[in-house]
């Protein structure tokens, strides 16, 4: 006897489990209706408005799918479809500006995305030509110094919080201070660093290191939070296994806990760098602007990409298009640097991720 023989014959009425499904054709009809409704909103003004079209379409789709599903499928499925539609719509609404932003920066930035831009400075340039070589160097030096300072501070604080101070009053106090610090407006960090260096080295001091200190203030709490989370994710069983072998605590942390969490820690550090590399306000007050390359972060002004972008846009020179093009190219360069950083972090975390750890 085969399996099919045992199957009950399909009854004449529609089966209860296939009844009332919306089905693909009706779903497509709802989508098409929403799109057309969006197009109709162009008619009164006669001009194409993409943003309004997208929003009207998404809202119409949410309403349409709910009503259609409510009629055909019933309350539970209708609510399910409505929620899915709302979540997807929110995602699309967030993604469109992002794509548009990257596209605009790439499009306008490509006007001056040439060799001269990456090899020359602004020394002696008033009109066309000139480049952001000095600004790229400045950004790399200032951000690099900030990273060198904030990673040890941040990582050691995180180790204290996750491994030693757990549950103590001091740890709780540090944790809430770190939370407060993540919310500090960047200009406050800049003014702090400016005031600090003015006290130490006299009024009007501008230097790369002052900017690095300002960025460190912004970066450290981000590093602390992410590294602490990553250390906490390391299973206690691994710590216990190491303790049971007679390994001292500091060595358990250095040789077992940190290597296990290293992929996440690196990702956190890169996120923190990405957070500060585009900071303009604190660098404006602490580092200032220079026309040429300054390799020495301890002496004199430097230019960084965000500040360069700002000045090229507000003081573009003559003709103004030349300065504006340089500003867009600098912004594009910044976006590319951040993307490269993320790619490096992604590669590093895949390479360093412990095999087999779920």
């Amino acid at each position: 006897m085969t399996l099919t023989d045992q199957r009950p014959a399909p009854s004449e009425q529609r089966s209860s489990i296939t009844a009332g499904r919306l089905g693909r054709p009706r779903h497509v009809a709802v989508v098409a209706g929403a799109v057309v409704l969006g197009v109709v909103t162009w008619l009164p003004t006669g001009s194409v408005n993409w943003a309004r079209w997208i929003i009207v379409t998404l809202v119409a789709y949410c309403v349409g799918i709910y009503v259609a599903s409510r009629i055909v499928e019933g309350r539970r499925q209708a609510l399910d479809r409505l929620m899915l539609a709302v979540v997807t719509s929110c995602f699309l609404i967030v993604v469109f500006p992002l794509v548009s932003l990257v596209w605009t920066v790439a499009e306008r930035g490509s006007n001056r995305f040439d060799t001269i831009f990456f090899t020359e400075t602004m020394r002696g340039v008033v009109g066309e030509g000139g480049g952001a070589y000095h600004a790229i160097i400045g950004t790399l030096i200032v951000t690099g110094l900030a990273t060198l300072m904030s990673v040890p501070f941040g990582l050691f604080t995180a180790i204290y919080l996750a491994e030693y101070g757990h549950g103590t009053k001091l740890a709780k106090a540090i944790q809430s201070m770190v939370d407060v610090m993540t919310g500090i407006p960047s200009i406050v960090a800049g003014l702090f660093a400016y005031a600090l260096f003015e006290l130490l080295f006299g009024p009007g001091t501008r230097s790369g290191i002052a900017g690095a200190v300002a960025l460190t203030v912004l970066m450290t709490p981000v590093v602390v939070r992410s590294a602490e989370e990553m250390l906490r994710l390391v299973p206690d069983e691994l710590r216990e296994a190491a303790y049971a072998l007679g390994v001292p605590k500091w060595k358990v942390i250095v040789k077992i806990v940190i290597p296990t969490a290293i992929a996440g820690i690196i990702t956190g550090v890169v996120l923190a760098i990405a957070r500060v590399i585009g900071e303009t306000a604190p660098l404006l007050v602490t580092v200032g602007l220079a026309q040429g390359v300054n390799w020495n972060p301890f002496d004199g002004r430097m230019t960084t990409l965000p500040v360069f972008t700002y000045y090229q846009y507000v003081q573009p020179g003559l003709p103004p298009e030349a300065g504006q093009d340089r500003a867009w190219a600098a912004a594009f360069t910044l976006v590319i640097i951040v993307m490269v950083l993320f790619s490096i972090a992604r590669i590093l975390s895949t390479v360093l991720k412990p095999k087999g750890l779920k």
């Binding site: 296994a241 390994v247 077992i256």
Partner: protein, 301 residues
């Protein structure tokens, strides 16, 4: 798998290897057996526990344990969940205190030295008293060989390459794992199956040459075949080590141990305590306490 199936499976696999069950008849006469990891027998490593009370902060978890654990034998700790077996075994190598607020009162003597005496370094205690945990926990960042060497390497002892290779082989042979992994020693430890991982953890524990080996439910996450491998291993290891094992499986306690201690608890929130301790065959055939009879015959709770 139900409890019954599991027990039946273990029983049936046990019957295929009669030599293992026979060993129970000659509990301490294992001098003729030569284990690959056998080391010169030094002090007798008898563990004497006196008036041990174990706390989590203010909560008394285990009350007033007095116990003598014989050297070079297997001692099983049985009892219902939450009765403090694991807490007790963790206090034998000062692993208990790695939990915030956990502490003990009383004494644990090994070779006449009190592990909780003043000036005792818990790290030194743990080098002497190794431990294998319930869930296999090989270090995910290390290869199989590095896992075995972890104890030595992390204790900052530089070891020559040939010595390291010898130690890896001896420890893995000691844990009955060498033949399965000898061709892939540089693969990550977590690439092994659960049973192999647990034997890797045993190899890692015996590589630091402890005198005492504590096992906290080492087989509870393993299938019957892997369980059998580890039980055989315990029988071999007891010629060189004093072994204490916590188990929920009374058949297992019966198969592997020479002495058995029964822990119990009067109610939730009450401290656990030792009801009875005796030779394993006495505990399972003719125990003195009614509570023990109820537990080993399955009438308990």
């Amino acid at each position: 798998m139900t409890m019954f199936d599991q027990q039946a499976a273990i029983r049936s696999t046990g019957e295929e290897l009669p030599d293992m069950t026979n060993r129970l008849d000659t509990p301490t006469d294992t001098g003729a057996m030569v284990s690959p990891t056998a080391r010169p027998t030094g002090p007798d490593n008898r563990i004497v526990v006196e008036n041990l009370n174990i706390y989590y902060s203010e909560f008394l978890a285990v009350q007033d344990v007095n116990m003598v654990i014989e050297p070079r034998s297997v001692t099983a700790l049985i009892g219902p969940s939450g009765c403090g077996k694991s807490t007790f075994i963790r206090s034998l190598n000062r692993m208990h205190e790695v939990i915030d607020g956990a502490h003990v009162k009383g004494s644990v003597y090994v070779d006449g030295e009190d592990l909780y005496g003043p000036g005792v370094d818990p790290v030194a205690v743990r080098r002497k008293v190794g431990m294998v945990f319930q869930r296999p926990n090989p270090f995910p960042t290390m290869s199989i060989a590095e896992n075995v060497l972890a104890g030595k390497r992390l204790n900052s002892k530089r070891i020559a390459k040939t010595d390291a290779e010898d130690l890896v082989e001896a420890s893995l042979r000691g844990a009955n794992l060498w033949n399965e992994v000898k061709d892939r020693l540089d693969r990550p430890g977590s690439s092994l199956s659960g049973g192999q991982q647990q034997r890797l953890c045993i190899a890692r524990a015996i590589a630091v040459e402890p005198e005492i080996l504590l096992m906290d439910e080492p087989c509870s996450a393993l299938d019957p075949i892997s369980t059998l491998a580890i039980e055989q291993l315990m029988n071999e290891l007891k010629s060189s080590y004093t072994i204490v094992i916590v188990t929920h499986n009374m058949q297992q306690a019966g198969r592997v141990s020479d002495r058995t201690a029964f822990f119990s608890i009067d109610g939730t929130g009450m401290p656990g305590h030792v009801i009875e301790m005796d030779d394993t065959d006495v505990m399972f055939s003719n125990p003195k306490q009614q509570a023990t009879i109820d537990y080993v015959t399955g009438r308990f709770g």
